[in-house]
C-alpha cells in the first residue's frame, strides 16, 4: 500500500513539473498549427515505410555493387574495354531503375499514373531523340561485329585516321594530319568501313606502265629481284607479278608486295624508289601518254 501511494505522488509531481515547463520548452511541434496533419504524417506506419524504402535502396545498391563488381572482373577478360564498359553501364542503369521501382512499390506509390505519363513523354522523346537512339542501337551492332577497336586505322568514306575512342553514339578518329573527327555510329553502319590495320600484313600494289619496246620477261625478273632485296618487303607471302594488259600507252604491270602493316609507309617509299632506280638502270622505260603524228606532204 505504501509503495502505491508513493508512486502516485511521484507521478503527480512529474506532471506538475511538466506543466510548469511547457510554456518555455520551445518545441518545433508547438510552432505548427494544431490541425492533426503532423500526427497523421509522422505515424509509426510512416516511419516503418520510410525505413523499408531506405532498406530496399540500401540492399539494392549493395547487390548492384556486387553484380557490377563481378561483371567487371568477368568482362575484363572476355571483352574489349568498350564492350565491357557498355555492359557495366547498362547493368548499372537497369539496376538503378529496378531499385527505384522497388522503392516506389515499398513506399506504396502508385506508378501507373507515372508510367502513363512516362509513356506519353517517351513517345515525344522518341521522336525528338530518333537520331541518338539510332546511333545508340547502331553502336550495339558495331560491337557485335567486332570490326575495329581503339588503335586501329580506319578509312570511313574517305576519312582515314586512328580510332581514338568508341563511344555510345559515335567514334572519334584522329586523322594523320592531327584532326579529331567524330563519326556517328549510324554512318558506320551505312557506309563501307575499311580497317587498314586489322591484319598483320598488307599487300602493296604497284601499277607500273612500261613502253611496248621493253622486254616483259626482263621486267619481271628485275621487279621480283628488287622486291626480294628490299628489307621492308616480306619474304612470305611471295611478291606477285601480273601483266594487267596492253594499255593505250604501254604495257600495264602489277607488282604486289607484302609488307607488315606497321611498315607500310617506309615500305611504300622504299620500294617505289628501288623500282624506279632499277628500271632506269636496266634501261626499261616508263610509258607515258604519247601520240604518233604522221606528216604527209600535200601536193
Amino acid at each position: 500500500m505504501n509503495e502505491t501511494v508513493a508512486t502516485t505522488e511521484t507521478l503527480t509531481e512529474t506532471s506538475a513539473a511538466a506543466e510548469a515547463l511547457a510554456p518555455d520548452s520551445g518545441s518545433l511541434f508547438d510552432l505548427l498549427p494544431d490541425t492533426g496533419l503532423v500526427e497523421h504524417i509522422f505515424t509509426v506506419d510512416t516511419v516503418i515505410t520510410v525505413a523499408q524504402v531506405f532498406l530496399t535502396i540500401f540492399i539494392g545498391m549493395v547487390l548492384l555493387g556486387l553484380v557490377v563488381g563481378i561483371l567487371k572482373r568477368a568482362s575484363k577478360k572476355r571483352f574489349d574495354v568498350r564492350t565491357s564498359g557498355l555492359i557495366i553501364k547498362i547493368t548499372q542503369y537497369l539496376g538503378i531503375s529496378l531499385i527505384a521501382i522497388n522503392a516506389f512499390d515499398v513506399a506504396k506509390v502508385d506508378l501507373s499514373a507515372l508510367l502513363g505519363a512516362a509513356g506519353i513523354a517517351g513517345i515525344a522523346l522518341g521522336f525528338a531523340a530518333q537520331t541518338s537512339v539510332s546511333n545508340f542501337i547502331s553502336g550495339f551492332f558495331l560491337i557485335s561485329e567486332k570490326m575495329f577497336a581503339p588503335g586501329d586505322v580506319l578509312n570511313v568514306d574517305g576519312t582515314v585516321g586512328v580510332v581514338q575512342s568508341v563511344d555510345a553514339l559515335s567514334i572519334k578518329l584522329r586523322t594523320f594530319d592531327n584532326q579529331l573527327v567524330r563519326i556517328p555510329n549510324e554512318t558506320l553502319i551505312k557506309t563501307n568501313v575499311f580497317n587498314i590495320t586489322r591484319f598483320p600484313a598488307r599487300r602493296l600494289n604497284m601499277n607500273i606502265l612500261i613502253t611496248y619496246d621493253s622486254e616483259l620477261e626482263k621486267a619481271k625478273v628485275i621487279l621480283l629481284e628488287t622486291a626480294a632485296k628490299n628489307r621492308d618487303i616480306l619474304k612470305n607471302p611471295e611478291p606477285l607479278f601480273f601483266v594487267k594488259g596492253f594499255a593505250e600507252n604501254g604495257v600495264e604491270l602489277l607488282l604486289g608486295v607484302w609488307v607488315a602493316s606497321e611498315d607500310w609507309v617506309n615500305a611504300n617509299n622504299s620500294i617505289h624508289i628501288d623500282v624506279k632506280k632499277r628500271l632506269n638502270a636496266e634501261g626499261i622505260e616508263f610509258a607515258f601518254p604519247t601520240r604518233t603524228i604522221y606528216s604527209r606532204q600535200v601536193d
Binding site: 591484319f199 598483320p200 600484313a201 628489307r231 616480306l234 607471302p237 607484302w258 606497321e262 611498315d263
Partner: protein, 281 residues
C-alpha cells in the same frame, strides 16, 4: 697445344664479355664472320659518348680482268661519328661496355633448307640454327642491339592471322650428326635443339619453324651458343612452341642471356598458332 674445343671456348670467352672503351684507338671492330660491328668513343666534356654501327658484307664490285691496275678493296671508310648511321649513347664515367648475344625483338621464322614430312604420331629430334643479335650494354643496361645479318622480315602463317617475324634460313640437322653440328660453330649463330612432334591425325610437312626468342636463354657451351630445347607440337589446332621440359642444359654452360619473358607458364601462354596451310600436306 690447345685442342680444338679449348680454342673454340676461348674464342667464345674473348668475344662475349665486357670491353674497355676504345679510347685512342679509333673505331674498334668486332667481327662476326663477314659482318662487322664497329664501336667508337667520343669524349665530350665530363663524360663520353659511345657510338656503334654494324656493317654487313657488301656485294663485291665486278672487276674486269683486263684492268690490271685495279687495287684491292680498301678497308671500309666509316661515316663520321655524328652521322645517323651510328647509334650513340652517353656513357658518363663508365670505362667499359658489354658485348653480349641476344635474340631479335621479333619472333624468328626459320625456313628449313629442305622441308620434310612427319607422319602422324611421330617424334623427331634435331638441331636448327638462327642468327642472333649483338647487344651492347652500358652499366648492365641495353644500349642497342644489332642484327648480324641483313634483317629481312617474313610472315609466318596466313595474311589474316600470321605473325610478322625476322626471316632466317637454316638446315635441319638430326642429332646423330655432331660433326656437322660442330662445323656450324659461328659466333653469330645460336643452336636450338628441337623436338618436333606430330600429334595430329595426318602427316605434316615441316618447312618453317617459328621461335620466340624472348622466352629463351642463350648458353655458351664451348664455342657454341645454344638455347633450351624447343618442343614443336603439331596438332589439329595448329602448332605450338614450348620449352621441352625433358631437355637439359649442359653442365658447363654459361648463361649469356636470360629470357625477356620470365616463366615457363608464360612461355606456354605466349606460344603461337602455326599455320595448317603452310605445314599440312
Amino acid at each position: 697445344m690447345m685442342n680444338d674445343q679449348e680454342q673454340e671456348a676461348e674464342t667464345l670467352d674473348i668475344l662475349w664479355k665486357n670491353w674497355n672503351l676504345p679510347v685512342d684507338e679509333g673505331a674498334r671492330c668486332h667481327c662476326f664472320g663477314n659482318t662487322s660491328l664497329y664501336v667508337s668513343i667520343n669524349t665530350a666534356g665530363d663524360g663520353a659518348v659511345l657510338a656503334a654501327m654494324v656493317r654487313f658484307p657488301e656485294v663485291k664490285p665486278v672487276v674486269k680482268k683486263s684492268n690490271k691496275t685495279a687495287r684491292k678493296p680498301s678497308l671500309p671508310e666509316l661515316p663520321p661519328i655524328d652521322d645517323a648511321a651510328w647509334t650513340r649513347a652517353f656513357v658518363g664515367k663508365t670505362q667499359e661496355y658489354g658485348l653480349y648475344p641476344g635474340y631479335p625483338p621479333l619472333p624468328i621464322c626459320v625456313r628449313l633448307h629442305e622441308s620434310f614430312s612427319l607422319p602422324p604420331g611421330s617424334d623427331i629430334m634435331g638441331w636448327i640454327f638462327s642468327h642472333l643479335e649483338a647487344r651492347i650494354l652500358i652499366n648492365g643496361e641495353d644500349m642497342a642491339s644489332f642484327a648480324l645479318i641483313p634483317p629481312y622480315k617474313t610472315l609466318y602463317g596466313t595474311p589474316d592471322s600470321g605473325v610478322v617475324c625476322r626471316y632466317d634460313e637454316a638446315e635441319f640437322l638430326a642429332s646423330e650428326e655432331p660433326a656437322t653440328l660442330f662445323s656450324h660453330a659461328n659466333p653469330a649463330l645460336v643452336a636450338h635443339p628441337v623436338r618436333i612432334r606430330n600429334s595430329s591425325s595426318g602427316p605434316v610437312k615441316v618447312s618453317d619453324l617459328c621461335i620466340y626468342g624472348e622466352q629463351l636463354s642463350i648458353f655458351g657451351t664451348g664455342s657454341r651458343l645454344q638455347s633450351e630445347r624447343l618442343l614443336f607440337t603439331f596438332s589439329s589446332s595448329g602448332v605450338r612452341m614450348a620449352i621441352d621440359s625433358q631437355g637439359r642444359v649442359p653442365r658447363d654452360a654459361t648463361v649469356l642471356a636470360r629470357p625477356r619473358v620470365s616463366g615457363e607458364e608464360r612461355a606456354f601462354e605466349r606460344s603461337f598458332e602455326l599455320f595448317k596451310a603452310m605445314t599440312r600436306i
